[in-house]
Symmetry: C2
Subunit: 326 residues, 2 copies
DNA sequence: TTGTAGGCGTTATCAA
DNA sequence: TTGATAACGCCTACAA
């Protein structure tokens, strides 16, 4: 059922039907009513493709994330959904699995008539090699991009980031203030920029106070390293840069019979559900993923409505949720 | 940069450029080469909208899920991604938040030129009121639908389901065989069809063997009920129909000082990461979400390639992963 | 108040 | 081997 079909049935021209359905003032009341009824009767639905081709807008946003199993990104998407939905945008979610090849392919395909703009958390590969032509490509085609969480410094786009460095810094400083003499950082995400920021926060806080103890490795190696560390040194506190490291620290400490927080404190990044259900319950740094998503989406919607807006850099502060390990 | 622009630059007609870029045999080698070079030079990318409008195909699939924070759906999406990607389909993921209104809106919008077909896990609301016009609407418009996990019986579409009833049934039978005298079912998802199936599996297994003990409520009430139950009766085993109920059972049993599996066995549905990190580690029923996603996507791709294919009903079997609570 | 015609960027048929 | 031309479904000056 197209405008043409409807026009034939109504015995009027295509443009009359088009105008009637779009409630144009040019069309008479009775004609409008008649055509609306007809459209309902035949369950007419406009072809979005044609409208988009014509208008050059698609009212859909591409959301590109490295992973979806990651609780953080899932949360962000919920926030994005919420505001984009309210602003009547559709959402295309694409997952890169940290592959740059996929990231490039997705951005290029979606740039060409599929979406009006992007919300992206850059993949690992892109973050290390800083290959950003595909983003510039989209940008030149007037598809604004808002980067969130995993951003690229050199790109002058809207950005929503988490103050990873700052929150870790303050957490560690606090630990120092509590008279913890040996605070270790364990990380299984040393290859991600987030991991780097968190480490920097730690290093900055520890500098001049005590010797830095940094364990960075993949999960398996990390376990070994952590065991050796705890065997040979007394550690007062562990700050874990990611969920896996946090869980690992908890496990190893428990296995050694350390009591928390008496013998050792542990603070890590981990989703609430997990933190609440391990024992002892884990003190975590909460990143407010939903807020990040909302903010990023809002920035994009604003930019889409007013393309002259200058790029902003928004920081969404994380908060510490104290549980049983501190 | 459109075909027209390129044609002007190359000094040939639009159709020549089109054919050259599509590698038509009609065009001479040198011309082809020249035009390809030009296209590369000017970084020409075809407008997908126009292609889609012309061909009537979009090479994209709409995936509709009630939630994304649910680990199960996240897993399914990973499986879907994998096969759809291999078959060169794009993916649009939409989240209904269990709202029928949203489900209807999404299906209608996407049906009109946006996607070639759907992969859907029906929302709660739809599952209770069985309002399925929107699915029929899509189907009539030649947008095939594959239902997964949350399906509608009355719909004659391809379906990929989990044998919830069967696996719970066999788990409970096994418990009976192990001489558990009082096996309880706890569920916080009694309003979902999955919850119903799981309960049926339990009831069937327990029938004629022992008295059924079924606790169904929202998480808060469930906690109270479970405490009262354990205070007044000795329960040998608990089967939890969902993650929250499983976590709850574990917590309450621990709080009562029960040792697992000596005093009580617990088996529940829960994601691996959680099951492995609680203590004692939880024995779970693993649903193989990735396989479900793969299978569903494959069915859709097949249907898209050969529309005469009859709908299938595929069951993906779950398996029990024994950990410390059994 | 209604209709005609051109165009959005492609593909594809048919003619040259 | 190449080029006009129509068509996909819609919107919108402009004309009637």
């Amino acid at each position: 059922m197209t405008l043409k079909d409807l026009a034939k049935i109504a015995g009027v021209s295509i443009s009359t039907v088009s105008k009637a359905l779009n409630n144009s003032a040019e069309i008479g009341q009775k004609t409008k009513a008649r055509i609306h009824d007809l459209a309902n009767l035949y369950n007419y639905q406009p072809n979005n493709l044609a409208i988009n081709l014509k208008t050059g807008k698609t009212k859909t946003i591409g959301v590109i994330v490295p992973s979806i199993q990651n609780n953080f990104f899932a949360k962000v998407i919920i926030g994005i959904e919420e505001v984009l939905n309210a602003s009547n945008y559709n959402i295309i979610i694409s997952i890169t699995n940290e592959s740059q090849e996929k990231e490039v392919a997705i951005v290029k395909t979606l740039s060409n008539g599929v979406v009006d703009g992007f919300l992206v958390a850059v993949g690992e590969e892109t973050q290390v090699n800083q290959h950003v032509e595909h983003f510039n490509y989209a940008n030149k085609r007037n598809k604004p991009i808002v980067l969130f969480d995993r951003v690229i410094k050199s790109l002058d786009f809207n950005k929503v980031i988490v103050d990873d460095k700052g929150i870790v810094n303050s957490v560690v400083k606090n630990l120092v203030k509590q008279d913890k003499k040996a605070i270790a950082l364990v990380s299984a995400i040393y290859n991600l920029s987030v991991g780097q920021s968190r480490k920097e926060g730690y290093l900055d806080a520890i500098k001049g106070q005590q010797e830095a103890i940094v364990l960075e490795a993949n999960v398996e190696d990390l376990e070994r390293e952590l065991k050796t560390l705890l065997d040979n040194t007394t550690v007062d506190a562990i700050v874990a840069a990611d969920e896996d490291a946090a869980l690992l620290a908890l496990r190893v400490a428990k296995a050694k019979g350390l009591s928390m927080p008496r013998d050792i404190s542990i603070i890590g990044f981990a989703p609430t559900k997990l933190a609440e259900n391990v024992s002892p319950q884990l003190t975590t740094i909460n990143q407010h993923g939903i807020d990040i998503g909302k903010k990023a989406a809002q920035l994009l919607v604003n930019k889409l409505e007013d393309s002259t807006l200058d790029p902003q850099r928004v920081i969404v502060n994380s908060t510490v949720v104290h549980r049983e390990t501190t």
